[in-house]
């Protein structure tokens, strides 16, 4: 994600782990720099329920207008898909 520094892109997480202290340890150890909501611990939290997420990891991609553009995207497809959406923003601002 370093190559996207300075670009209008953000990674946000929804975390299902039950032990908040444990999550913080993970975040420190793995150098996780992105922000996550804590969904109450466990797989039945309100965010996961609303989004009908049943397995992890699940990754969705939203554009700059908040519109869902890709669902259940595979890790190997992420770079190309994010680049395409960033180009859309460039296109709109006339770059």
């Amino acid at each position: 994600m370093k190559r996207l520094a300075g670009r209008p892109f953000v990674l946000l997480g929804v975390n299902s782990d039950s032990d908040r202290a444990e999550i913080k340890r993970t975040v420190q150890q793995e150098n996780i720099s992105w922000r996550s909501w804590w969904d109450g611990g466990g797989p039945t939290g309100p965010i996961q329920t609303q989004w009908q997420v049943t397995q992890r990891p699940t990754i969705h991609l939203l554009d700059a207008e908040g519109i869902i553009r890709r669902k259940n995207i595979e890790a190997e497809d992420v770079d190309a898909a994010v680049d395409a959406l960033l180009r859309e923003i460039d296109g709109k601002s006339g770059k």
């Binding site: 782990d17 996550s36 804590w38 989004w51 992890r56 700059a64 869902i68 960033l86």
Partner: protein, 266 residues
């Protein structure tokens, strides 16, 4: 609400297992079998020893022909449809069900096996059964199985349409009729069809029980997913605390491309 072990969306287990396990047993009751029922059971036992579906198809067809009013005829034709998937016999059997058994109450049990073939002929049969059957049980099963069929077609079509060079291989595996269907599948149209079916499900079959919950509950979740969670829709707002207890919103990030990642163990 628990959703169990879904693998691709809402119905993977509910439908996936049903679709992928070929049925070699008809649903014949143990008590008081009719002559046709007895004959069917015998056929199934013979088949178990032999296991060549193609060799047995004519015998099942014949049984259906000889006992057109008996539920065993429906079972026999459903057996052919399920066990000779991707072969012409499967389509013939489904067409025979459409021609001669739309009014049968037994069709309820056949819906699952028919849907499992994913074929356009299966679609037609289920659509007609939903519309024309006098039996509520048949209607509800046809509705439920049809929506699952469409879901599975969508999943396969997404993969195939991204790889048009795979068409010859797909044709070998799925047969011509289904392959063409998958390559021609219009996702917007399919989504609308599913929406209509779920609305029907909510309106007319809400109390029918499923393995998990009721058809009504499934329909509500599915309609929410189609209307609020599908590609092209504005993402529902998320407003909650982060790991440190500070509140923040998804809406704070408008203007940025967002990769939303659901992670963690339990």
């Amino acid at each position: 609400m628990k959703r169990g072990d879904l693998t691709w969306g809402l119905f993977a287990v509910c439908f996936g297992l049903c679709f992928l396990v070929p049925c070699s047993r008809a649903n014949a009751e143990d008590q008081e079998l009719s002559p046709a029922g007895v004959a069917l059971r015998r056929l199934l036992e013979e088949y178990d020893q032999n296991r060549d579906p193609r060799a047995f198809a004519p015998k099942f067809f014949q049984l259906a022909k000889q006992h057109p009013e008996d539920p065993a005829a429906v079972d026999a034709l459903a057996w052919i449809a399920a066990n000779l998937r991707r072969k012409p016999e499967s389509i013939q059997a489904i067409e025979a069900l459409e021609r001669g058994h739309l009014q049968s109450e037994r069709l309820a049990e056949a819906c699952r096996q028919v849907a499992g073939t994913l074929s356009p002929s299966a679609e037609r049969l289920l659509q007609r059964a939903l519309k024309e059957s006098p039996h509520a049980k048949v209607q509800s099963q046809a509705c439920y199985q049809l929506v699952g069929l469409l879901q599975e077609q969508e999943r396969l079509a997404r993969r195939l349409q991204e790889q048009p060079d795979q068409r010859p291989r797909a044709q070998q595996y799925y047969g011509k009729e289904l392959t063409n269907r998958l390559f021609d599948l219009d996702f917007k149209k399919t989504e609308r069809r599913k929406e209509d079916l779920f609305e029907k499900m909510l309106k007319s079959f809400a109390d029918v029980p499923l393995a998990e919950g009721t058809m009504g509950e499934l329909a509500e979740k599915s309609l929410f997913a189609i209307r609020r969670l599908s590609v092209g829709k504005v993402a529902p707002e998320i407003e909650s605390e982060d790991i440190d207890g500070n509140k923040f919103k998804l809406g704070d990030y408008r203007g940025k491309v967002v990769l939303l990642s659901f992670w963690g163990h339990w």
